[in-house]
């Protein structure tokens, strides 16, 4: 794996590879880095919102992380709340507007580090909301420091020699914990490292919106997203790096679906 030599200018300049934008984005520009996985995940979420005809029946609560700047890009009613508190804000909204799809957009730092209490208790209460965690194993926004989800051996700005369990502690597999909780209706982990994983993740996202709307409880949808900047690898190598590091610890697929046999989609495919 290459490590970027910051003393030299980058060899390859970033180039835009796709100009098509989903209609729920107000602009085709964003301020995230080349090779970032977050815009891909957000785009998937917005497309599913349209597919499920929730466009005019949803509110997004964004946490603090690079994805937060999408509050300006997404054409859905939204608020940017305090770091980590999204599931609490979502609870207040859902209890007042039970018919509206309420969803949080959080990162691993936002949800697993700062906001662990909020997601756990919202899951325990079985709030009918959808919580997304874009997991890149770092605080991307603040420049690539260790979060509760950084994996053992991962180099970050404050684990320069790699995360050492004895010194820095162990990562928290939040999705696995939430899946064990009674109030959680749906827990899955997707990824956006290649076309196949993107297509698979889209299906998981659908169910993550459907279960809470059916009143079955909370959905936690984790999505592994590339953060080449925070990992100090070239943009083009983010996907490979991710599957060799986070991908080895955080297995993809459904961890829990209370309605596994209940929906035709599950029964059919």
């Amino acid at each position: 794996m290459n490590v970027i030599d910051t003393a030299r200018p980058p060899e390859r300049a970033a180039s835009r590879t796709a100009t098509f934008k989903p209609s729920l984005l107000l602009s085709e520009h964003h301020h995230l880095c080349p090779g970032c996985g977050e815009p891909v995940a957000i785009r998937l979420i917005l497309e599913v919102i349209q597919e499920l005809e929730l466009t005019q029946n949803n509110i997004c609560i964004l946490g603090h992380g690079c994805y937060g700047s999408f509050i300006m890009q997404m054409d859905v009613d939204s608020t940017l709340c305090l770091h980590g508190r999204g599931p609490a804000v979502a609870t207040g909204m859902k209890r007042i507007r039970p018919q509206t799809a309420i969803w949080t957009l959080q990162g691993d730092g936002d949800m697993t580090s700062e906001g662990l209490a909020e997601i756990m208790h919202a899951a325990a209460r079985g709030e009918n909301v959808t919580c997304f965690m874009l997991n890149n194993g770092v605080f991307g926004d603040t420049g690539g420091q260790m979060t509760a989800s950084s994996v053992i051996g991962q180099r970050t700005k404050n684990t320069l020699e790699g995360r050492d369990a004895a010194y820095h502690g162990n990562p928290i597999k939040l999705a696995e914990i939430v899946a064990s909780m009674d109030g959680a209706a749906y827990v899955a982990r997707g990824s956006v490292h290649n076309a196949a994983s993107i297509n698979a993740t889209r299906k998981l996202i659908r169910k993550a919106f459907q279960r809470p709307m059916e009143g079955q409880g909370l959905a936690l949808m984790e999505i592994l997203t590339m953060c080449p900047t925070g990992w100090f690898v070239p943009p083009g190598e983010g996907a490979e790096y991710m599957m060799e590091s986070l991908g080895k610890v955080y297995g993809l697929g459904e961890l829990k679906d209370v309605a596994a046999a209940a929906s035709p989609e599950d029964a059919g495919v």
């Binding site: 729920l24 890009q73 608020t79 709340c81 804000v89 859902k94 007042i96 208790h121």
Partner: protein
């Protein structure tokens, strides 16, 4: 609702809040705010409202923020330590313009700084109402929700143990307040895909198609709003100040006791007056300045080591002699207003201060009930 009912302060506040339209409350137990949570849990469901037993004060206040942002009248409540945990979210509400009422049933009067100076980031103030008793509390509960909605700001309602747990007869009157416009800013989830979707966030930046004035412009507008609130929402009460040589300043439950002593001393012929800020922020500085223009002495009675006295000094700009005659004062529960809150002792301290005698130190109350 007609007819008199004998209610404790907590129940009266909850009844008034629901009559004012409160539909969402989230709290975490702490004396003396626990009864608010219990009454809310009992009463809100019957009007279609929700009371959530939150797992931390931080969670509680953020839930209330969410409920308020989708248009409900929402509140949370706690006391000192819990208020400290809520400060980050109170600042957030001030800066992202979410109307929110925070009941702080304080331990004693030591939360004056915490309420009026704020504990969060950014340029903001927290409108703070300090009722002297249950009757005023009922009125100010309505006012608190009204002002929160009118200006889209957080409001702290500052009660105490005496207010929370003392019973009084009340008919729960509803004050006349101007009608407010519909909350067209609230998120209802219906504006997606139209190009007109709504947003709420502390940087004020809008959407890509309506980027707004930017944080600098937005925060200047917020600062101007707080200036307007300071001008229009200040409340105070005063008596006998016109010819007073001495004016005693006190707030909340303690204010009611001090007023009683001042009235007695007046009857005895002393030229003494009384001044009580009802809004701790905005502090009624000009009114206090005017009320004390000819006074030689300003005595400040508050049950803490000296917090409001800073605002008193700022109000009269050091032009008059100011002395603290209150002090730290608790009983062994750590909740009550303590031994200083006694009409005879207040009288003794006013007279001692005016005649140049040292204030008598009361013995420590000790931990009797725990032994």
């Amino acid at each position: 609702m007609s007819g008199m009912r004998l209610l404790d302060g907590s129940e009266a506040i909850v009844e008034a809040a629901i009559m004012a339209g409160l539909r969402f409350y989230a709290g975490y137990p702490i004396a003396p705010a626990t009864e608010l949570l219990e009454y809310m849990a009992e009463k809100l469901p019957s009007v279609g409202g929700v009371c959530v037993n939150a797992d931390t004060e931080i969670e509680a206040v953020n839930m209330a923020l969410g409920a308020a942002q989708v248009g409900a009248r929402a509140a949370t409540g706690s006391c000192g330590q819990g208020l400290a945990l809520k400060q980050e979210a109170i600042a957030e509400a001030a800066l992202n313009e979410t109307p929110l009422v925070v009941f702080n049933m304080a331990r004693n009067q030591q939360d004056y700084f915490q309420a009026t100076r704020g504990g969060g980031w950014g340029d903001y103030h927290t409108v703070t109402y300090a009722p002297k008793d249950l009757h005023e509390a009922v009125e100010l509960t309505h006012v608190a929700f009204h002002v929160a909605d009118k200006y889209r700001v957080p409001v702290i309602f500052m009660g105490d143990n005496l207010l929370a747990r003392t019973q009084m007869g009340t008919s729960l009157p509803v004050p006349e307040l101007e009608k407010l416009p519909a909350k067209d800013w609230a998120l209802d989830g219906t504006m997606g895909g139209t190009g007109a979707s709504r947003w709420i966030w502390t940087f004020g930046g809008g959407k890509a198609n309506r980027p707004g004035v930017g944080p600098d412009g937005y925060w200047r507008q917020i600062a101007e709003k707080f200036q307007r609130i300071a001008r229009d929402e200040m409340r105070h009460e005063q008596c006998f100040c016109e010819d007073a040589e001495t004016v005693v300043v006190a707030f909340g439950s303690a204010g009611k006791f001090v007023e009683h002593v001042v009235r007695e001393l007046r009857k005895e012929g002393m030229k003494i007056g009384f001044f009580r800020p009802i809004t701790l922020w905005p502090f009624p500085a000009d009114a206090l300045d005017a009320a004390t223009r000819d006074a030689k002495n300003i005595l400040v009675f508050e049950l803490n080591a000296g917090q409001m006295i800073d605002d008193v000094r700022l109000s009269v700009e050091g032009r008059r002699r100011i002395a603290a005659i209150g002090g730290v004062s608790f009983d062994d529960s750590g909740l009550n207003l303590g031994p200083l809150l006694d009409a005879d002792i207040i009288r003794e301290r006013i007279l001692a201060q005016l005649s140049g005698q040292p204030l008598r130190q009361l013995p420590y109350t000790g931990m009797g009930a725990y032994l």
